[in-house]
Symmetry: C2
Subunit: 450 residues, 2 copies
């Protein structure tokens, strides 16, 4: 993508080995903090600390913010208090809070010790917002203007306050800390210097509350194409903003969470390699255990039809195919509905529309699969047309049932306030296994008078 920034890790390692610190420092200065993090995470702890110490103050703070919590903890242990203080001074408050939330208590204490009292107070306030709330991800550094300021005053204020780029693209106008409007930086740039903010501001501002869910805020930022969204506290005072880059990460994390749940894995906020084997196992074994025990019901039902299978052993042959097909058909529908719900394409009010659509889809799929399977049976099992027909009817019935159950469960979950993602492949296949065996043997025992 961007060749200017793809500096070789090997080169950095070489320079480190040859102790060419001055050249290395120059190279690091041209690199993007995100790329430095990529390199650091590949090095051993000792090398990483050496590199970190070569960084400029501001860059060091950004690198410190972006690295994973494991590397960060090692680094904190290696740095002196005064080095740590320098890094903390340069960090944005919301990033500091994110970092603190992930650290063990003793590290948090050490970090808080090196920050000044004023910042410490603000940090403690932010730490109180519940996880996943807008308050917990908001940026508290933003530009607030007054209605009676001129454009020139506003520009002066931006010069003093606006530290981070994203945070100045929209400036917010407040009156006794209440949000009364917003001014886009473009309007500041193009309006006359002496015009009043009041005249150029947009009074129709979208906002969210500190306790709103972060996913809702991020979705809103995406939907309306915003650069930032102002956040108000319970007294309707402006206390922070959520910027588009944070929104992108929130949406990515929420999707990862959904996908985990859809695979029957309890989601966790840590990275794959950052999570211990034991924690991974814990996140997976609960669902496996539940599904395993549920699957014994299918086993019992199967045992119940033992005599039918003894009378006609060929019936056993089709069980994996039927269970697989019904599970897959159901998962297709449930997955599509879950995703549709999550991006806002499908809502609960579409319930009957969805079911009607899925039934028609199921019928087409069922007939095609029944036909293909019928031909196969006719050829492979001595032209047994009755067997082909019985299997065909079973196939259409189970696919229709699978698609109905598959699309219904996520919609019901949504309506009942549960997570639709729970109704994905693992649960649907387990339910469909039971239904399939029941339906299969009901049809074939009736058909062949077993």
């Amino acid at each position: 993508m961007d060749e200017k920034n793809s500096i070789d890790e090997k080169l950095i390692l070489e320079m480190l080995d040859e102790r060419k610190f001055k050249e290395l420092k120059e190279i690091l200065m041209t690199m993007h903090p995100v790329d430095i993090v990529d390199v650091l995470e590949e090095l051993n702890k000792k090398q990483a600390i050496l590199i970190f110490r070569l960084l400029e103050k501001e860059e060091a703070a950004e690198v410190f913010t972006d690295m994973d919590s494991d590397t960060r903890e090692h680094l904190i242990n290696a740095l002196t208090d005064s080095e740590l203080e320098e890094v903390m001074d340069q960090m944005y408050l919301d990033d500091t809070v994110d970092v603190l939330e992930e650290m063990p208590a003793n590290v948090v204490n050490r970090l808080l010790k090196v920050t000044d009292e004023d910042t410490r107070k603000k940090i403690n306030l932010l730490l109180q917002y519940p996880e996943d709330s807008a308050g917990s991800i908001m940026n508290v550094e933003y530009v607030s203007l007054r209605k009676d300021m001129t454009v020139a005053d506003a520009i002066l204020k931006i010069r003093q306050v606006g530290i981070n780029k994203e945070t100045i693209y929209t400036c917010y106008v407040t009156e006794k800390r209440h949000l009364v409007g917003a001014v886009d930086v473009k309007d500041l740039l193009t309006a006359g210097e002496n015009r009043l903010i009041e005249e150029i501001m947009d009074e129709n501002v979208m906002y969210a509350m500190t306790l709103d869910d972060q996913e809702m805020v991020a979705t809103c930022i995406k939907k309306y194409g915003l650069v930032a969204m102002p956040i108000l506290d319970y007294e309707n005072c402006l206390v922070g903003i959520v910027t588009v880059d944070d929104a992108m990460y929130v949406l990515q994390d929420e999707t990862t969470e959904d996908i985990s749940i859809m695979a029957g894995v309890t989601p966790n906020e840590e990275s794959y390699f950052g999570t211990s084997v034991f924690k991974h196992a814990k996140g997976r074994v609960v669902w496996l255990m539940f599904l395993m025990l549920s699957a014994t019901i299918s086993g019992e039902i199967l045992a119940h039809f033992e005599s039918a299978m003894a009378a006609m052993p060929v019936l056993i042959t089709f069980i994996p195919m039927l269970m697989g097909t019904s599970g897959n058909s159901g998962s297709q529908s449930s997955t599509i509905v879950i995703r549709g719900l999550s991006v806002g394409e499908i809502e609960f009010k579409d319930f009957f529309k969805v079911i009607f659509k899925e039934i028609r889809i199921a019928f087409i799929c069922g007939v095609l699969l029944a036909a293909a399977n019928g031909i196969r049976i006719y050829i492979m099992y001595g032209h047994d047309i009755m067997l082909a027909i019985a299997l065909g009817i079973t196939m259409i019935a189970i696919i229709t049932m699978a698609k109905c159950i598959g699309c219904t469960l996520p919609l019901l979950a949504k309506k009942l306030g549960a997570d639709p993602a729970l109704m994905a492949a693992p649960l649907i296949s387990t339910i469909m296994d039971t239904c399939t065996i029941l339906m299969y043997f009901t049809i074939v025992t009736a058909f062949f008078h077993l």
Copy 2:
């Protein structure tokens, strides 16, 4: 979220019924185009057209851009050429191209007829970029500056050119159309009027090429927290920019595509309700057919062990549970690896690290599940300790195998340039069904000398 904008659909319908067009027009003016689209899509075609005609020019263009292709086509058929021309004039070029790509040929011709020749040329150029390329989603309206301009010149230029907000947050500096730097609007705002662009510009600009994959560009925008990314053509000339709001939609669409493939559904760009039943069925039946035919292998293997099952009928009871558990275990691993690959947390070089981790996780899960299942069997099947042990060994073996196969296949797919998402639940469960039956009967026949 934002109470100011949640205007009741019912209210709008009432006003439409009572033909209070003037009041309706005023309400529409205060609404966000995205919200108007939400309302329009709930109305019937005739009502939608009535509402659309009440919109202001600029708002109409935005609403037209945001609505789904179905509603849009109806609208185009109802509008006169001159109405259409007005809408097209107000639209951004990249949006026009998006709209044209979705329309049938006769509509495209009608739309192109009402645009002026210059725009038509530009549109045709953009239409030539391959789907999913950076060129196909880029914005061709951006601010380009020259090195020798002063800040005051630059501001004047923005006033003339910068139409869309997002497109001015970063201005690009070109020399003979080649990209030489970027200036953030904050720097323009805070630098002295007479300073040269050359002095304040950042020469280290990230860029992408027109033919680069749109997902790569969007990922880059997210990773580096950019507001926009400049796009160069094959001659290294600046031809457009991709903005962060477009990047968010690209990432969402790519995730939806991944999730579809992971559920065994061929993805399509249309919405759930915008896709016909036949097209839905087509997207699903291919995988179902393939998996159904693959599942017959499991059936044949099962038939092969008929005599073992006849000798010890209780063995049948455990088949659904074992197949379900192995499928779920394998899907857990494959899903987590697929997502890890897609967000860049896992790479192919982590191959052995991943396998080693999964084996350990599998062992913990396997032992716990074997124990739970063993206790159940011991209680339910007349204290048959041998059966409990045989099933326990099978359980540990299949979970370990499932997790190994589940994590390996997506990594191999990635390495071989295939889509890792193909290696998700449907395929893994089908493979695991076969492996499970083979392993189960190999173990129990050896154990009980069947």
